[in-house]
Symmetry: C2
Subunit: 218 residues, 2 copies
């Protein structure tokens, strides 16, 4: 598959690019072409230094990058996501969109601040054309560990979505990353549960002196 990663210059975006690059064609996207090219180059070099096979990682602007892909990963901040997606609407046709977006703010601690739709995933689904299927996943995989190929991950990834076929595709993409176990989290309306886990996990890590934590359901 061809996968565009918006916010591909951040840890989690790079991590997904690196972990999927042996099996899929990756387009690292950014508002600025330079940054996207640089991040894609860094990923290629890192894979080549490790002697790992790469199906192709390229850099692109958001507009060009998402046009002809099967999957668009939204690994970006919540702030500004709706205006961003509105400007990108002409570039969407029938892609699968995976939302990692978590609306949260920090006072003394992090706090989940869902929009009136109930979750970022539902707001994103409403913003995009109906032919685009939104799935919610990967909010709670520790970013720096995902981006470090020397670390074997061992986490559960809860996947929410309204289209069972599309959800199955994202669960399969998850299974392709060693030791990530996809779990069906139900419909997109349940996304608030996995989105709200993110600030909760960050607070838990800070309070208890843990490094970034993910979650396992055992």
């Amino acid at each position: 598959m061809k996968i565009a990663i918006l916010g591909g210059t951040g840890s989690i975006g790079k991590g997904l690019a690196l972990r999927w690059s042996g099996m899929h064609e990756i387009v690292v996207c950014s508002r600025e072409l330079d940054k996207a090219m640089k991040a894609a180059g860094e990923c290629s070099t890192l894979l080549s230094d490790k002697g790992l096979f790469c199906s192709g990682i390229s850099g692109s602007t958001n507009e060009t990058g998402i046009k002809d892909v099967d999957v668009v990963v939204l690994s970006v901040l919540y702030q500004g996501i709706v205006p961003l997606l509105k400007t990108l609407t002409p570039c969407f046709s029938d892609q699968i969109v995976i939302s990692l977006v978590v609306p949260m703010k920090k006072n003394r601690w992090f706090e989940y601040t869902p929009p009136k739709h109930g979750s970022a995933a539902l707001e994103i689904q409403e913003t995009l054309p109906k032919s685009v299927k939104v799935v919610s996943a990967y909010h709670n995989v520790p970013a720096r560990k995902l981006a470090n190929l020397d670390i074997t991950l061992d986490y559960d990834v809860v996947v929410c979505g309204d289209d069972d076929g599309v959800k199955g595709t994202v669960m399969q993409l998850t299974r392709e990353i060693n030791n990530l176990r996809p779990l069906d989290g139900g419909r997109l309306a349940s996304s608030y549960m996995i989105e709200s886990l993110t600030p909760f996990l960050i607070n838990l890590a800070i309070r208890n002196g843990l490094s970034e934590v993910g979650v396992k359901f055992v």
Copy 2:
């Protein structure tokens, strides 16, 4: 310590009684004395059959049981909890109360239905005298596994509470159960996060064909 367990005839109440009975004096409580005595007797027999030391497990009515204890565990259904606690108010002085209570309903799936206070724990704190300190914990430890002493537990227990000393006591009680790791979840106002995990975990188990699941933050 002397620990009264309301709802001590259910799996999770029995499980806590069994796991703490080597170190603490347990009072299994129920509305009906017969049921409480029977459950306490079953626990004693089970421990004695396994050759395990027991500091004492007795059965009692709720009213008598909670009077002279250090800790009261509320392992009861949300429905009816407020009227129950109001009738018990004269029996409370300055006990620590551990709430395992989760307000939820089942339509097709389980759904968290917090009261207007934001969580069961906050509502319980408001219902009880101010001298009673409420802590929220143990919602997400699989009940049947807790009650089966042949199973070594390996879960995280997030503990929320407003009094740091009291929260520390409950975290220590948690540590005394092999392989349960207590984590500080912040103030009682954060209890909605761990309460709402319960229906989420039940749904996740059903959807994915898992047996009852708990949680680990890794």
